[in-house]
Amino acid sequence: MLLVIVEHDNGELVEAAKEALTFGRVLAEKMDDDLEAALIGSDDAGLVAAAGEFGADTVHTCTHDLLRDYGPDAHGAVIAQMIEELKPAAVLACGSDRGNEFMAQAAARLAVPFVANCVDVTPGESWSMTRVQWGGSLLEDLALDAEVPLLTCGLHAVAAEVGGAGDGDAESFDADLDDSVTITMVKDRVVLEAGVTLPTAPVVCGGGRGVGSADGFAPLEELAALLNGRVGCSRAVTNNGWRPHSDQVGQTGTRIAPEIYIASGISGAIQHWVGAMASKHILAINTDREANMVTKADWAVIGDLHEVIPAIIEEVKARRG
């Protein structure tokens, strides 16, 4: 059996969970084995059914007083116990922040390997896989020697798709937990912004070193506001203190996936590119025709962003009348 750990929030499977099940269906087929799911902290019938729609045969639900909220230790302990008792042939989750965290927790408990962010997995006598390095700039092929492979698939390595012939039968799992797991449980939550956030914005207006100063971002702000978008930036910008890090796009920033990314004064270093490459379309504004961002973009304007962006703003306003 391939056991897929599925994340949920507010009574729904999160996108990452659907991706893990979609990735898992293909893997289970290659393994010629069943696909089963594990639901930690809930036995909600709707969630069980949703996991079934994505191909899970049996859904192991685990509820417990000490699973009232997310905690890496609690999750890690439950997964480690499931591995010992259910004896899956392999365990998979999605490489979200939480997914990579709780799988590493389980692996540490069992002293077994854990391979994060796989994009391709070949099961067999000995397993091999291809995984992401450098935030997506490079791939690594590796051979795995493990009794039970513990893996995550890279976030957005596949697009979530309903499918498979899962029955979605619920089966409850009794976990043996003690208070110690609550040490790392979420104590509180703070909501900072509602509405369009950088990862979900349909338009992102990104600025790089070419913007020149914090004040230089005013036109990008105005354009973003006109298009119901958000401002993003490169690491050169955050390093200069012109924008907060929460605006940074890239390997060590946010991964964006807008309808269009308008990248101004950004050279397109590989660590920036990996955060922007999921954009459906890219328009680059740069003085340098040879800049990486320009050569990789769908469209480009060659010129000074301080002249081009105000002209775009005027044109947008003029067309809207």
Binding site: A104, F114, G135, S137, L144, A269, L283, A300, E315
Partner: protein
């Protein structure tokens, strides 16, 4: 208060990353090296906490002796002590790195203690993931081996009366965790804006004595076969124009995409 930061030396590539002919490593022949960005923020975070609460910061890296460069850099921005865990080469898997770092940390904690009792670091900081191999696990394995709590993805740290309060970013907000000391955190870039070295810092970094610990640990279960670059979709860039005259063509594109 004593804080330890575990940092990794990584190449600093530009527009693209080249690979050596044997496919085993990044071709760093023409590249500079840096500290993984998350870990630069770990060092800055540790130095800020010490400035506020008093104490000392130690940095530790596992690698070749070249990694002294990154240890000295950390001292130049405010760390007090530096330890090299000498691994001889760079090809260690995450389980093996974690085991060797755990042993080295235990060594240092014993040396810091007295009467045969080790003195644990109040806080150990890791990066959320290393910039190059990105295994998302070394910090968690070390924390587990030391029997200390760890939370990943941290972008805010405060020292409370009896707890370490850590904030973790989620889309549109953050989660708050409270850990007793000694604790371990995996931090992300954005925790702070790292400072540049001062003249005084540079001098200190030249003088600091780097402690060296031997490294030995068994290989873990994963073995690299080769590195390669993902296939790139070749795109034919359409140049919409030069300068402000291109604005009309840009807005046509926005209109076509339905985002106007």
């Amino acid at each position: 208060m004593k804080i330890l930061c575990c940092v990794k030396r990584v190449p600093a590539p530009g527009a693209k990353i080249n690979i050596t002919a044997d496919g085993q490593d990044v071709d760093a022949a023409h590249l500079g090296f840096t500290t993984s960005p998350h870990e630069e923020c770990a060092v800055e975070g540790a130095v800020q906490l010490i400035e506020e609460h008093g104490g000392e910061v130690t940095v530790m890296t596992l690698g070749t002796s070249d990694a002294e460069e990154q240890l000295r850099y950390a001292v130049s921005v405010g760390a007090h002590h530096a330890v090299l865990v000498d691994a001889g080469d760079n090809t260690w898997d995450p389980q093996r790195i974690a085991a060797a770092l755990t042993a080295a940390i235990q060594d240092v904690e014993s040396a810091n203690g007295s009467d045969g009792t080790a003195e644990p670091f109040d806080l150990i900081l890791f990066g959320n993931e290393s910039a190059d191999s990105g295994g998302f696990q070394v910090g968690i394995r070390v924390a587990h081996a030391l029997g200390r709590p760890i939370v990943q993805g941290i972008k805010g740290i405060e020292i409370g009366d009896d707890a370490i309060i850590a904030r973790r970013e989620i889309d549109g907000g953050f989660e708050v965790y409270e850990l007793p000391r000694p604790a371990v955190l995996g931090v992300k870039e954005g925790l702070n804006l790292p400072r540049y070295p001062t003249m005084k810092g540079r001098l200190a970094s030249k003088k600091v004595e780097i402690g060296t610990v031997g490294a030995s640990a068994d290989a873990g279960g994963q073995a690299r076969l080769r590195l390669h670059r993902p296939e790139e979709a070749l795109s034919e860039t359409v140049i919409l124009g030069t300068g402000p005259e291109a604005a009309a063509a840009v807005v046509d594109v926005l209109d076509e995409l339905g985002v106007l």
